[in-house]
């Protein structure tokens, strides 16, 4: 059995495919591809696919990760072309390879967030927002409750600037099983606090990193 990892982009119309639907969508794409994929055993066999990090509905990404198994050795270029031939609009496999890391090694993700509104003003207020001592928000816990957390120590600003006439922030946030922070926690708080008519126009995941800060793939 050959373990394979695929890095794929999710853009355009495909960004409205929910995480649950993405699994089903990939099952069918794999079937269409004709690749010798491995099925789970048992009463209701299905193609074994695991996704590294769920992506929120509506976010684009250039770096989604899924692992699957092939029952035979297939050259990487052939896997790539067979899969891309079977993908719907907006899903594109960027590369496939034999993985050497585990999904649990993932520690951070980077997001490029584009804001609407007057860019200079949004830029200024975002900077002062990021300079506050604490950024307390209420976060849902896995058990269904809520608790207050401080986003400040976990948020790393990679870059801020005005691109194509919109204020754009690139942020690094904890991601993975241990601790996962969705950028909307931060942006909702920012939009709620400041009152300058800014809104999040788009969010795109641009990187997934391991705990050492290296690119995960």
């Amino acid at each position: 059995m050959n373990k394979i990892r695929a890095v794929f982009a999710k853009t355009g119309r495909a960004k409205y495919i929910s995480h649950l639907d993405l699994n089903r969508c990939m099952q069918r794409a794999f079937k269409r591809s004709g690749l010798p994929v491995w099925y789970t055993e048992g009463f209701n066999p299905h193609i074994y696919i695991t996704f590294a990090l769920p992506l929120s509905l509506g976010y684009e990404s250039g770096c989604e990760i899924m692992d699957f198994n092939l029952t035979e050795e297939v050259p990487e270029e052939r896997i790539l072309s067979a899969l891309n031939g079977a993908m719907p609009e907006g899903l594109r496999i960027l590369k496939v390879y034999t993985p050497s890391t585990k999904h649990t090694d993932i520690a951070f993700a980077e997001y490029e967030i584009v804001f609407s509104g007057e860019p200079e003003a949004v830029s200024k207020s975002f900077q002062s927002f990021m300079e506050s001592d604490r950024i307390s928000v209420m976060k849902k816990t896995k058990r269904g409750g809520v608790k207050e957390i401080d986003l400040k120590p976990d948020t790393e600003v990679i870059s801020l600037g005005i691109r194509n006439g919109s204020f754009t922030a690139v942020l690094r946030l904890p991601a993975g099983n241990e601790k996962n922070i969705n950028p909307s926690l931060l942006t909702d708080e920012f939009i709620g606090q400041t009152n300058i008519g800014a809104e999040v126009e788009s969010v795109r995941r641009t990187g997934i990193l391991s705990s050492s800060g290296e690119d995960f793939f």
């Binding site: 269409r32 299905h46 719907p88």
Partner: protein, 613 residues
């Protein structure tokens, strides 16, 4: 431009993937190279519409033509509709995301009566005047409808330019070809409609005028401009070689039926007297086993579906069902595909078929005896005997099944309280049967669920003359049923008769009923088939405001010589046959199925030869 506006709102609604297209198998063409654009509308939500097979067939068929482009349109959910109206987003098609008011054809498939108000709502949301008379005479945006409900399209006559009667595979393209030709000549819409009305299967309601008697019944229907007095439905003569898609649009979201389906036969040999489909889709035609298998494999490998179904009114009536299953099962097993066989009949549920099915699934079984006593089953010509049901249940129980779901109708012609109690007695005998079997599944009890639906008399059936049971009568029958159940192994469920009453009114309504449909929609009625949205009070109000009586349409007995609102439409089955069958029904006399003996319904005359060799 429109796309940006749509995308701004999508994250605010439930299941946004339904509103943006882009699914595998969806067909996007270059607008510049298209001569005729067709918006195929299903008047219900995406989840329901995308489960519908007829739409998939016609979608692919039209798109085979390079310069024609067919796109899909569904009714948005209430949350998205509200946002669309607030933000001036007109109803658009999923492939191009272009507004459908700019299309050449806006076509609806009418599968059930309770979707009528959705049509009006969708036209309105599209920015198309709802009433045909309010639309201008330029040759564009022709509003058409097909599907089983258009066998009596009169309640919809005010809203549509054209109805397409019967099977669409040939006539849809003929209509589009004519449009393309006349558009190039700069013709007007009215000229186009007159020319289209000469095509077999095309009914232009504005070219037929209706007059009424004082008692409210139809006096006459007159064809204008020397058109044929009666409009014939279309059928595909060579069903085995008719076009069938080799790919489907594969939705991202979970919909009702998300699977590869191959249509294995059309029509039905049975002639159950309550079943409209059994008459309007005649004659019975089947696809060869080799074609079914080839199409099924093609469809599965192109869609990647993990479930396949063999679709028809009665799949086990296929003369080669054994060959089909033996041909498909090795493939489905190897490819991990579930094979589902809907519409299996009780009476020919053989041991062999059972074994084949058991290989692939082991869930609950459903049977539809439809009536509780043999007498009443003979009345409706549901040729299932109790012995057959028991034999099938024996096989099923021995095969490990412990749950059986039984479907019945309530309010059938000649039905008495004894027939209702017969439902419970029948279910009880199935329970007794279970415990009488030494080799029944061990450690488990048996559970029989009884599901009842209110009978709705439909056009082109032998019961088109019959009154529907009134609400009071149905309530009484339900009480009788509940009182007769004493075992905890038997559970019964039913539906509120209100929707069935409206269904009966619309099914046999005349042209005047259109005003009530319009008013009901104006009052906010839509998604009438969803019990949480159904507003019977609004409908009653709408009818009385138009001076119409719902009971006149639902629960009035028609004489055999009354002119029905649909009598000028020719679905091949003759009135004499329907009358004959109605009389036989009253005497509880059965009619054999078409394969064993032709009953001379009139269809063979139309197709120029016997239905079976």
């Amino acid at each position: 431009m429109l796309r940006e506006k749509i995308e701004k709102l999508l994250l605010k609604v439930q299941k946004p993937a339904r509103y943006i297209g882009g699914e595998s198998g969806s067909i996007v063409k270059d607008r510049e190279n298209i001569s005729v654009r067709f918006a195929f509308c299903f008047p219900d939500t995406y989840d329901i519409g995308m489960s519908h097979l007829g739409m998939k067939i016609l979608y692919s068929l039209i798109n085979e033509r390079e310069d024609y482009w067919c796109e899909r349109v569904f009714a948005p959910g209430l949350d998205f509709e509200e946002l669309m109206r607030e933000n001036d987003i007109p109803l658009y098609a999923l492939e191009s995301l272009d507004p459908i008011k700019d299309f050449d054809f806006v076509g609806f498939t009418m599968q059930y009566e309770l979707s009528y108000t959705n049509v009006l709502n969708m036209l309105d949301l599209a920015g198309i005047p709802v009433l045909a008379k309010d639309r201008d005479d330029s040759l564009s945006c022709i509003v058409v409808a097909g599907g089983p409900c258009v066998c009596n399209p009169e309640p919809l006559a005010d809203f549509f330019d054209i109805f397409i009667l019967g099977e669409g595979e040939e006539v849809n393209l003929e209509l589009m070809d004519l449009y393309k030709e006349m558009k190039a000549q700069g013709a007007s819409k009215s000229a186009f409609l007159k020319a289209a009305a000469k095509i077999d299967g095309i009914y232009v309601p504005s070219l037929y005028s209706v007059s009424y008697n004082e008692d409210g019944t139809v006096q006459s229907v007159t064809a204008l401009d020397g058109l044929n007095k009666r409009v014939k439905k279309r059928i595909i003569k060579d069903f085995d070689s008719v076009y069938y898609p080799d790919n489907f649009v594969v939705p991202f979201t979970d919909i009702v039926h998300n699977r590869a389906s191959v249509e294995v036969l059309r029509g039905c040999i049975r002639g159950c007297r309550f079943c409209q489909a059994g008459f309007i889709y005649r004659p019975f035609r089947e696809k060869s086993a080799s074609n079914v298998c080839r199409q099924a494999v093609e469809l599965c490998s192109n869609t990647g579906y993990e479930e396949m179904s063999l679709a028809s009114l009665s799949t086990s009536d296929h003369s080669q069902i054994g060959d089909i299953l033996t041909g498909l099962i090795p493939y489905t097993e190897k490819e991990h595909i579930n094979l589902s066989l809907p519409s299996l009949r009780v009476d020919n549920f053989s041991k062999e078929l059972m074994d084949e099915i058991k290989k692939v699934r082991k869930s609950g079984l459903t049977f539809a005896p439809e009536a509780g006593t043999q007498r009443l089953r003979d009345v409706i010509n549901k040729n299932v005997t109790e012995e057959e049901l028991m034999r099938t249940c024996t096989t099923a129980f021995k095969g490990g099944y412990t749950g059986v779901k039984l479907y019945f109708m309530m309010g059938l012609p000649t039905e008495t309280d004894d027939d209702i109690r017969g439902i419970t007695e029948l279910a009880q005998r199935v329970v007794d049967l279970f415990y009488s079997l030494p080799d029944r599944p061990k450690g488990k009890g048996v559970q029989i669920s009884i599901s009842t639906a209110t009978f709705v008399p439909k056009p082109f059936t032998p019961f088109e003359f019959e009154p529907q049971a009134t609400r009071e009568e149905i309530m009484h029958k339900q009480q009788v049923l509940m009182d007769s159940i004493t075992s905890r192994k038997i559970k019964a469920s039913w539906h509120d008769p209100s929707t069935s009453i409206l269904e009966a009114v619309l099914a046999r309504g005349d042209r005047r009923v259109g005003q009530a449909v319009y008013r009901a929609w104006r009052k906010g009625c839509k998604f009438d088939s969803w019990s949480e949205h159904f507003k019977f009070d609004m409908w009653s109000e709408a009818f009385s405001e138009c001076g119409l009586d719902m009971a006149f349409y639902a629960s009035r007995r028609r004489s055999f010589d009354e002119i029905m609102p649909w009598d000028h439409l020719d679905y091949y089955v003759s009135k004499e046959f329907l009358v004959r069958e109605n009389k036989k029904a009253k005497n509880a006399e059965t009619t054999p199925h078409c394969r064993s003996k032709c009953s001379g319904c009139g269809v063979s005359r139309e197709i120029g030869g016997a239905c079976f060799e």
